[in-house]
Symmetry: C2
Subunit: 334 residues, 2 copies
């Protein structure tokens, strides 16, 4: 086991500017030694998520990040040493290791991950992305067969799974994504019924053409203008699952929210529900069983976007925020 721990440190926090390579610094330190209640783990695959950027804005469902911290991030890692625990060297676990080769993590919360054919699936379809799509759509969105479901960031890790689950549940599915190529991929490969290209302009007009009868369920990954366009297109008694707001993370704090709030919530009798995937931990086993079944019978395609090398993590996140990924982006550390 090498002695050197490569670490990507948050050199400084963005202050209303867009995230760039200058906000990060690669450094090296000695491989740490676990203290009481700690496990030493070695990072295998780091998950890249729009939420990583949100953590730089302030406290969310976790505390805010500070300059000088090793950049935070979830990863699949393997146990090197876990004294006072049943975990053995080589066992795979999920933890917030941060962007580094080795991390010390509290042993108490670690759980051995299930055996799967592909380790990367523990980050994509059986990880936070897949579970977020599953619970957000089914618990917060409550789609019924024949209803129209719209999902934003549709070609992303969560969106691409949301759309496919909605199809499995018998819905008409419209994805909002940037660029004609992503749109074609969603329709041809993932079975979406139609897409809306937010980069093509004329958002309201596109909504009218593609969704003349309105939206029953909107799964929101973006906030901002797309949220507003969906809000105006909602049917009465529609449901909005609020999952994230990637359009709002990478820049100055948004000066205002979408128009029509709360007026349209009232007149259309909408329900908006925000959620974080860990709120549904008690239903996790059933979710994983459903997801695995759909993957096995070919109805759920797993799309991954794997980039090699810890040193490329900052650029990979910056690119994700610009929408360059398709499916679940992650870094292969080793």
């Amino acid at each position: 086991v090498p002695d050197v721990n490569r670490q990507i440190v948050l050199e400084r926090l963005p202050q209303g500017d867009r995230l760039g390579p200058e906000h990060f610094r690669l450094t090296e330190s000695a491989r740490p030694t676990p203290g009481p209640g700690q496990a030493l783990v070695r990072t295998r695959y780091i998950s890249l998520d729009a939420a990583n950027r949100a953590w730089m804005q302030g406290a969310t469902y976790r505390s805010a990040l500070n300059a000088g911290d090793v950049m935070a991030g979830g990863a699949v890692a393997e146990i090197v040493e876990a004294p006072d625990s049943d975990l053995k060297p080589g066992d795979l676990i999920w933890a917030d290791t941060g962007w580094q080769d080795y991390a010390l993590v509290p042993t108490k919360r670690l759980q051995k991950l299930p055996d799967v054919d592909q380790i990367t699936h523990l980050i994509s379809v059986y990880g936070v992305a897949g579970l977020t799509a599953y619970f957000g759509l089914l618990e917060c969105g409550q789609p019924k067969p024949g209803e129209t479901v719209v999902v934003s960031a549709a070609a992303g890790a969560v969106g691409s799974i949301v759309g496919q689950i909605a199809k499995i549940k018998g819905c008409r599915v419209v994805g909002v994504a940037g660029g004609a190529e992503k749109g074609r991929w969603l329709v041809d490969e993932l079975g979406f019924d139609a897409t809306i290209d937010y980069k093509a302009g004329g958002l309201r007009q596109q909504f009218k053409e593609v969704l003349p009868e309105g939206i029953d369920v909107y799964f929101d990954n973006t906030g901002g203008e797309i949220f507003e366009a969906c809000l105006f297109a909602m049917k009465n008694h529609g449901r909005i699952a609020c999952c994230g707001a990637v359009s709002q993370y990478d820049g100055a704090a948004p000066p205002h929210g979408p128009r029509g709030i709360p007026g349209l919530i009232v007149t259309k009798r909408l329900t908006l529900r925000g959620f974080v995937v860990m709120d549904f931990d008690d239903q996790r086993d059933q979710a994983l069983k459903d997801l695995a079944g759909w993957v096995a019978d070919g109805r759920l395609k797993v799309q991954e976007d794997i980039i090699d090398g810890l040193e490329n993590t900052p650029a990979a996140l910056i690119g994700l925020l610009a929408g360059e990924n398709r499916g679940k982006r992650m870094i292969k550390v080793r």
Copy 2:
């Protein structure tokens, strides 16, 4: 029965300006004669509601109003003639009579109102105001004993009942209202625990002082800045009942919505639910029974603000939009 029908006509729609007397005109026509399926009714008490102003902005849960229409509005009225129906002259019904002495209304939807000690209670506590407070708080807000409930427009028809029901349910209740006098009345007479005076400035600071631990349930009657302040003060897993947006009705269409949407909905896992009272018609009997019980045992005080004379209806609505009423405002027509 007099032959003359006094009518208040919407002379022109406000175009981004505030509602004034110049938007109305008093006119007289002949008392109309019912056709097939119609009943002739005589207006007794007209309900004044912030929603009256919203109807001038465009289609809501009802179609938009047009210049030249008799101004729309709900009222308690008595049957003059109702051919093809079991209703007898003198029976009281609730209908959208509009602002006039006589109206023709479809017989089909008319229901005889229950006998009550005070006819005005059919508009306040047992009318739309009371039922809106009841269903919005209990169904959408789902308050639990010991929780903190905030209601805006707290001294208004709906807000004053929301706060009292929340107290009956064992909650801590904070009302947002304009002016120290209203605040004292809410605390001293209606049993609110505290109030916030939105006219006194320093809204965020007041929220911090009065609600250091945050809000579990917010019943929103106002939208706008108060909505935003509550959004930022919500606890995790809080619920917002979206009832109306009086701050947004009387002027230009709002250029934007509250900050923090959807970001705070996600991170705080909030549920926002819009509703219109008629969605709960099937639970109406139970609601009326509960409300009557609370009135009978003195735990729910009925506050009414009755203005005499049809000709005063425009000024009464304009005043209501400026927050001059306390409790349920209505016009006694006869």
